[in-house]
């Protein structure tokens, strides 16, 4: 078969474009490819064989350009993120997943939860869901749902009477940043012999021309303001903060931004904990508290966006909740006992102009 016969020609195009795409996944290369494509199109070639080769190059680069453009590496759109502890979330109405400590949500409550989550977010971090099914039902098919190894191990083992909740990350399949990697972390057996703590989830995404690590946490409760304690729960919480520190130290150089978000179950803004923060959470360069809302009457803020590293080209901004008036709910406790936080990573116009 001649090299330029249609089947081989198209196969070669796809092969070259795939190689090109794999080795050049950044904005510079995309600009380079656009210019190269224009250059090739303008080439005035007389030889018939070379003209076919020109078509071959155009086909290859156009394909790879499309692949690159279709992912948001190229995009300057903000990365929209939601983080929320939906207390004991399960997708079935009139059912309490965790018995006495669960919630009995009505169908209307579930619709409101859906409204909060459905705001075209690119990444959704949910701290308490009954399982992957409940999360998938909530976020819908436009999102891929990432679970922890701890959750998967539960699915792959004999059922028990225990009911627990787990953290999940939903990643938009067709918009937003590109998912580069996902990993979950668990405390060592020495720190958590009974495996009572939830896994941490780290994803690294690429968008806005930068790489961002997002560490999803739902830390041990019952020690929100305790300075020193020998209680097992507090020991686990301190071990979790140490683990976060290790993860940050280990992975921070891979990325341009490193953000830790979720339910810390720790009143990190409490002045009494200032010293503790310096020694136990030195990786916190900046801290964004979840804005208070009617869902959480307590003034003690334990949900945060903690920033360990932020590129000077990127800034973080709240997304104002516009879904509905939470204060008007007759039974807000059925929605959750935590407030959601929505924010976006943006590249300010000045940073775009500097490129």
């Amino acid at each position: 078969m001649h090299l330029f016969e249609p089947p081989l020609f198209l196969g070669s195009c796809l092969f070259v474009s795939a190689i090109d795409y794999i080795f050049s996944k950044n904005i510079f290369c995309i600009y380079f490819r656009i210019n190269l494509l224009i250059f090739i199109v303008k080439l005035n070639i007389g030889d018939k064989q070379l003209r076919v080769f020109k078509k071959f190059l155009i086909c290859s680069y156009a394909t790879s350009l499309w692949v690159a453009m279709s992912c948001s590496v190229f995009s300057q759109e903000p990365i929209r993120v939601l983080s929320w502890n939906i207390e004991n979330f399960h997708h079935v109405d009139a059912y309490s997943y965790r018995g006495a400590i669960g919630t009995w949500r009505s169908d209307g409550d579930l619709r409101l939860v859906e409204r909060i989550v459905a705001n075209n977010y690119d990444l959704i971090f949910l701290q308490e869901a009954s399982g992957k099914l409940a999360t998938s039902v909530l976020v819908g098919p436009a999102y891929a749902v990432l679970s922890t190894e701890e959750y998967e191990a539960t699915i792959d083992s004999a059922p028990t009477t225990d009911t627990d909740v787990y953290p999940f990350i939903a990643v938009a399949r067709h918009h937003g940043p590109r998912l580069l990697s996902s990993k979950s972390f668990t405390l060592s057996a020495a720190d958590d012999p009974a495996s009572q703590s939830r896994d941490l989830q780290l994803i690294i995404v690429e968008g806005l021309g930068v790489k961002t690590g997002l560490l999803h946490v739902h830390l041990e409760h019952s020690c929100a303001t305790t300075l020193e304690s020998t209680r097992a729960a507090c020991r686990r919480m301190n071990a979790e903060f140490r683990l976060i520190g290790e993860i940050v130290a280990d992975r921070v150089d891979e990325v341009d931004n490193f953000i830790i978000l979720g339910d810390f179950n720790r009143a990190l803004l409490d002045p009494r904990l200032a010293g503790w923060r310096e020694t136990s959470a030195p990786w916190i360069a900046d801290l964004i508290p979840v804005p208070p809302c009617t869902l959480r009457p307590s003034s003690e803020i334990i949900d945060f966006i903690a920033i360990a590293k932020l590129s000077p080209e990127i800034s973080i901004a709240y997304i104002e909740p516009t879904f509905f008036n939470l204060a008007a709910l007759a039974k807000p406790q059925r929605i959750s006992d935590h407030c959601p936080i929505a924010f976006q990573l943006i590249r300010p116009p000045s940073a775009q102009e500097n490129e």
Binding site: V41, V92, K132, L133, G140
Partner: protein, 433 residues
Amino acid sequence: MMFRTLLRLLLLWLAMTSTGHTAPAESFDFEGNVPLCNALATGRETNIINASDRSALVLTLYCDNVDAGKAEPTFLLNFLKQHQSFFDRVDGMFFSIGSISFTRALCQSIRTPFFHVRIFSRGDGWLGDLTSCLPEGEYQSLTKVVGVEDLKSFHPKYLALSSGGEGWIYVSSGNPSTRASTVLDFNLTIATPTDSVLFLWHQCVTRMFDAYLGGIGSATLNDRYKLCRLPPDPSQLVAPMLMPFDSDQYLSEVAFWAGKAKRIRIASQAYNSTPIMQIMKRAVLSGTTVQYLRDDDILLSLHRKELELGNKYEEYFAWDEQLCAPNTEVRFLLTKPEVSFLHAKFMIFEGDFGRTVIFGSGNATYSAIHQNIENNYVSTNPELNMHFSKYFDSLWQNYAMNQGNWEYFAKDIGPYRNLELIELDECRGKPAK
């Protein structure tokens, strides 16, 4: 110049297609089984069918035990053999498992070490076969189902298999048995991501039964199913339902689509559900055409013998007589009791909305809706629904016959000689159509 124009158009199309926000597409592999037997043509079966009639397609559904002896579940076996040492998680529930070829093929399709294998079914033999051939793995739960609460039958038929993030759902109206290929069943695999609701639902249901059958907890199955139950979601192109817990949803889907349909086509092993009949009757009175396929056994039901299909003469009064109308038509499949029979279960609704199919393990019977564990589905997926439509068309046009034709063939067939032939005309005693 032309090439540049084409290139521009190509780029425009690619740009348009790259902005969609839909879920990954599911893909399907479908086979509607039409057994090609020749018991009546070869003379293995005593018969006095005219030689000139013996090559008729309608007779090829009439299988004998020779045909049944080589009737492995080939669709499922082929699927499993294409995935050697591949699957890391397997969840499945069947009414029965009767093929050692199936258990061996399943074992060979599972990789070492696997994460989990959960299979539940009635019957005995499969348990030992599967236990002995499974490779090393983290968790396995194989249970023989004896009884499920006060329900009548454990009657589901599915497998959910995965490798990494890739998942497949196998759904059939039949069981993996040694007569699978002589029974008229549909076989279907759906390739879908493991985080799709469709895939997760099957995993959830199987795990729920793992807990129930293992005696974990004391909640009723109805309460347990709240772990897995799905809200009605029109965006879900293939939406699963578990009977009897989703019976309201199931009937409301039947009523909804029947109310919009211009034509309804049904295949079922048996028909005795009053609510479905009433829905169909209302549709018929509104001008909808209803066509349904029957096994021919009901035509011999005056015999006192309890036929293996559970078809009873009473069905005529519960269903056929009620549906008598010019726009209703029934056709029969000529099969041999206990060897070959109509076992597919699906309803096709067609109208201005396109085509919707309700399919699964459940017949159009009271038991299937209210007394059995069944897995049923509502599909608004055009590709999948086209497969069901073609299968029905094939049976209806090539292999099924009306009462008059049936009598022509059946009265001469040896095995039926001792059975009393009845006349089943849904409009018997009423004005002709």
